[in-house]
Amino acid sequence: MESKPRQAPFELPFTDWKPEYLYSLGELSPFFREIVDNQRLLASRCPGCGKVWMPPRGDCPDCYETTEWVPISGEGRVVSCTYCYFPGANVDLIAHIGLPYVFAVIELDGADTYMFHAVKPPSQKMNEVRSGTRVKPVFREKRTGTIGDFYFVPAD
């Protein structure tokens, strides 16, 4: 390392602290276990008001009732989307599907709330995916228990 004048700021590489976690998904465990084991999506339904929450929640924020798991097909409709051209550092899913990818607001069939997720445009061209496009999930070979275990593609 070249020597620097005394008054130049001294910069310390600080690499001995890399937080790693064994993170519990708690009440959401059935949702992620279903993805890993069976490549299927579950939603959560409130027995009080009947709303189907996606992303799922263990408790209904409106009624404070404990929700129940219900299967959904995973197919849905793009409500709105943007094409992203920027690489995400250490976002494994984006490395897998490539750029540009579509970051979309998706209305899944049977759900009352929208979900934000990634859509892979078939030939990475603009406007292949747009508002109204029907989409379906594709589950990845390697699944670890995150929502990055799947992504969406146009359904037809």
Binding site: L25, L28, V79, T82, C84, Y85, Y114, F116, A118, T146
Partner: protein
């Protein structure tokens, strides 16, 4: 409740990276500046509110006790506020409440954040380090695995449906709003970027997340600034130019329960603004304010803020740009310091700096970028990423 005034501000130049000062020295510089501006000594402060967004970025948990010690405030009460990129506005709200309630007579608000010490040794990139580190700011269960830590993308989830629903802003209007902020920064010696940027430059810069290009995105910075709040009695002793806080409010927007009713909206901003206006007795904000400082995380967020703040109807924000209303010489200048796009941004500080800019303008201390003061009122709005949290503060000179 007692009236509360800003009696002093301390700012420093925005830098991408300040390696010449530790966060402690950055704090000292702006605290000294604010005390000097107010004509006060350290011993006059009886309470400290810290606006510090992210400890992980600073490589230091519990930074406030280190700062209390470094600044010689041992024995004084302090509290730290954290609310993402809206931290500053929430901190101003808390400081206001402590002085208004009588709990404190003179409160120091210290806004501080080192944002660019992250480093990725594998790719030898500061940006990669930042984006990995920043990622835990997002919902780590439902967002982090499907998107990179890029503000343009987070806010695009609001901007694109907004454009689809209300027909605006157009890409040209977004580019012109960016150019406005670059021009304003040119007259702010403390701005991080002094750069001539044309509409074509904005449109031809790299697309980050359509329709947002690089030159429609905020900078990232190491920054600090300080403000001193005083009760009415103290304020009148300290200065003959107090700037009163006449309205303050925070609000949140449902983030994960996106539905047709709220998609493409910044409802937290709408609600916070309505509350702050009611508190300040403002009915027609566009006519009753002299300047507005909004959170231009991306230009789209700035233009949507015009609408949610009630400066115009939904979908009409772009017209305020086309008609020149929001330019420095227009009827209602916005982001006269250059905003986050050209002056600088880091969570915890940029909104406080925006508040300092309002104080400076209302006291007519803004030098080459001084606006014409008519009503003596200014508004600061800051948001967290997707506008899920908003703070609005209204200032009025005495």
């Amino acid at each position: 409740m007692r009236k509360v005034a800003v009696v002093g501000i301390g700012t420093a130049p925005w830098q991408m990276r300040n390696s010449a000062q530790s966060f402690r020295a950055m704090a000292m510089e702006v605290v000294k500046g604010a005390l000097a501006h107010a004509g006060l000594g350290k011993g006059d402060i009886d309470n400290v509110v810290y606006s510090i967004y992210c400890e992980v970025m600073m490589k230091q948990q519990n930074p406030t006790i280190l700062l209390q010690d470094y600044l010689g405030f041992q024995g004084l009460p302090d509290v730290r506020i954290e609310a993402g990129a809206a931290t500053e506005g929430y901190a101003l709200d808390a400081a206001y409440a402590q002085v208004a309630s009588g709990q404190s007579d003179i409160t120091l608000v210290l806004a501080l954040q080192k944002g660019n010490d992250f480093y990725d040794f594998e790719t030898r990139s500061r940006g990669d380090g930042l984006r990995s580190g920043f990622a835990v700011s997002m919902d780590t269960t439902w967002f982090r695995p499907v998107m990179p830590g890029v503000p343009a993308l987070i806010t695009a989830a609001c901007l694109v449906p907004h454009i689809e629903r209300y027909g605006g802003p157009t890409i040209g209007q977004l580019a012109r709003a960016s150019v406005k902020n670059y021009e304003n920064a040119f007259n702010n010696p403390e701005a991080q970027l002094h750069m001539k940027v044309t509409e074509d430059d904005v449109l031809n810069s790299r697309i980050i997340a359509w329709p947002t290009t690089t030159r429609m995105c905020c900078l990232y910075s190491d920054a600090a600034c300080a403000m001193i709040f005083a009760s009415e009695e103290k304020a009148r002793e300290i200065t003959d130019r107090p700037v009163w806080i006449t309205g303050t409010a925070t609000s949140t927007h449902a983030f994960q329960r996106a539905t047709a009713d709220n998609i493409g909206r910044m409802l937290g901003t709408r609600i916070a603004a309505q509350r702050a206006y009611a508190m300040a007795g403002i009915r027609r904000p566009r006519d009753e304010l002299d300047l507005v400082q909004v959170h231009d995380l991306i230009t789209g967020a700035e233009v949507m803020a015009y609408e949610e703040l009630g400066l115009c109807e939904l979908g009409e924000g772009g017209r305020l740009v086309d008609e020149g209303v929001v330019f420095r010489d227009g009827a209602l200048p916005v982001n006269t310091d250059g905003g986050r796009i050209a002056c600088g941004h880091v969570g915890g500080v940029s909104g406080a700096y925006a508040a300092c800019e309002i104080v400076r303008q209302l006291r007519e201390e803004a030098g080459d970028r001084q606006i014409r003061v008519r009503t003596g009122r200014g508004l600061m709005q800051c948001i967290e990423g997707h506008a899920s949290m908003t703070a609005v503060t209204i200032f009025e000179r005495g």
